[in-house]
Symmetry: C2
Subunit: 332 residues, 2 copies
């Protein structure tokens, strides 16, 4: 069996010759990376660091036996999504990993998926920890942004448009399919499952929204739109009207009945899209930013001065949906 | 049962009124703390950030049912120890926590132990994650230091003195006592156990060594002196001669037989002392820095140009001890 130190060197230290096959060398933005008590990092002059941590647990955030390469992608993707929601440029991350055993096949797949996405975003692994234990993956990610440019949850203003990137609900649909709560044919389950396993963090869109100061508030949708939008409303002291039928359903969900579309678009979870608010004067610029970043953007409602979230249908009539966000401490 | 969001607010968000009883308010060095997608942090102008992650797993790093308050202390202490070994000043940390259940008693004790130590070091909790899962505590810590001042593992030079802070081996002795591998009376086990459960990170000493440029290389001793010193020797391309009988045994271990003293001082684990190298011209200044930081410092050997680690006794005779560092993937 590999020792802890061999394991780190072989799969995660990209200065190590054995790593060369898995991609280009570390990007070298850290002054000191893996292999000391701490990594050393400095933001570019005048920039702030944006920092976020996400912990993924087997049977909670992913199925036991999940494909290691997709898992490597996903655990970094959910952290990149937090940077995207802040409008920060990815710089580096640490990885802490508890593993039941040092399985070379698993480590090879996991590190390949992780580094493929890291390289796409120029985000360098600078340190971390490995230990034996029930499978647990904890990434802390670092981005940078100019002071005052962050897309904060408390910045929504009454009269803002409400926007969603990409599409919603396919990941939640895949979960229902895997759990046999809803019947999908094999092709549909594969397509929806890909969305669940390999989300695409909206980093380029977040950078455009923050860098050009197009948006006010933003959050990434991880626990379901209604719950996550609720955090913006509470932090900003505003309400919203949400046109549930305007929500952009994922391609697999779009072919399902209306009731399911509404449910899984509004309160699906695992979407990793951005929900953001912006003044109506920015509509054209936001559509252009979406085009430039290869990400669809859809206007789905408005921010109101009156507190509370009002769900309406395409005709503007109130909808009484039973919805709830995802809570990791509620029963599964 | 508390929801995830209530739990975070009640025990970890110190801006929340419910937290007031547990200590003074957050120190406010972060531009944005808990409650958004990311925290925002900037080092002081011209300073680098030192970053380290440690993950603690039940039954691996601590016993199931461990006292929550001591656990809160320890999981931050081991991270502060990494900053100390770099010579960095603590600034902030994130906490990711997987819990089998949201138990208010446990959370209250854990957060009290965590924040008591955090306040001692002016280190602010700025974000993190909570989820349901097998108990797992992952902290990522942020310090700052001036460029070029870091105490790196690769900076030892032949001719350097080899130093140890504080005392060694009592934590390992406590483990042997708890496991019934070695008989200790109750008072001795309590004293040694305190050392195991509530280590004191040597932050002040690390700052003095780096700030005054007294030391060359440093590492914190978490997996046993011989193993951790080995990382310095490998990174620096040097060897060392270590006087095993000069190693400062903890007060409980000091009363035990010589063979046990040698074993647990040289390869105990869980010590969280600093092992550092420095030119002989700095001896008086290092002793003074130890006094000023309230930390004993003991000279225990020399760095050699010849590779390898030579263990000797008080008379300078070679010692053939069977020792090995702690490896989290070796069988327990």
């Amino acid at each position: 069996m590999l020792s802890e130190f061999d394991l780190i060197k072989q799969y995660f230290n990209r200065q190590h010759p054995g790593r060369a096959a898995l991609g280009r060398a570390a990007l070298g933005r850290a002054a000191l990376g893996i292999g000391d008590d701490c990594a050393l990092l400095a933001p570019s002059p005048g920039m702030q660091m944006a920092i976020s941590s996400d912990m993924l647990v087997e049977d909670r955030h992913f199925f036991a036996g999940a494909d290691a390469r997709m898992l490597g992608h996903k655990c970094l993707a959910v952290n990149l999504s937090d940077l995207a929601a802040m409008g920060a440029r990815p710089v580096a991350f640490t990885l802490a990993l508890a593993l039941p055993a040092a399985d070379p096949d698993w480590l090879s797949g996991f590190s390949a998926g992780l580094f493929a996405l890291a390289d796409q975003h120029g985000c360098e692994l600078i340190g971390g920890d490995t230990t034996k234990g029930p499978l647990n993956i904890c990434i802390t990610i670092f981005g940078e942004l100019a002071p005052g440019h962050a897309l904060r949850r408390d910045a929504a203003i009454a009269g803002d448009d409400l926007w969603i990137s990409g599409t919603l609900g396919d990941a939640r649909l895949a979960l229902a399919g895997y759990r046999k709560q809803y019947r999908l044919d094999d092709a549909a389950l594969l397509a929806a499952g890909t969305r669940m396993h390999t989300p695409a963090p909206r980093v380029a869109l977040g950078l455009a929204l923050a860098g050009k100061r197009l948006a006010h508030a933003a959050i990434d949708i991880s626990d379901g739109l209604v719950g996550d939008l609720g955090h913006i409303l509470a932090a900003s002291g505003v309400g919203a009207t949400l046109d549930v039928d305007a929500l952009p359903a994922g391609p697999v969900l779009a072919a399902q009945p209306q009731a399911l579309r509404r449910q899984f678009c509004a309160a699906g979870g695992d979407d990793y899209e951005l929900c953001f608010t912006a003044p109506s004067s920015r509509r054209d610029a936001i559509v252009a930013a979406g085009h430039a970043s290869g990400t669809a953007v859809t206007r789905v409602g408005t921010i109101d001065a009156a507190p509370g979230l009002r769900l309406v249908d395409a005709a503007g009539q109130a909808l009484d949906l039973k919805l709830s966000g995802f809570d990791h401490f509620a029963s599964a």
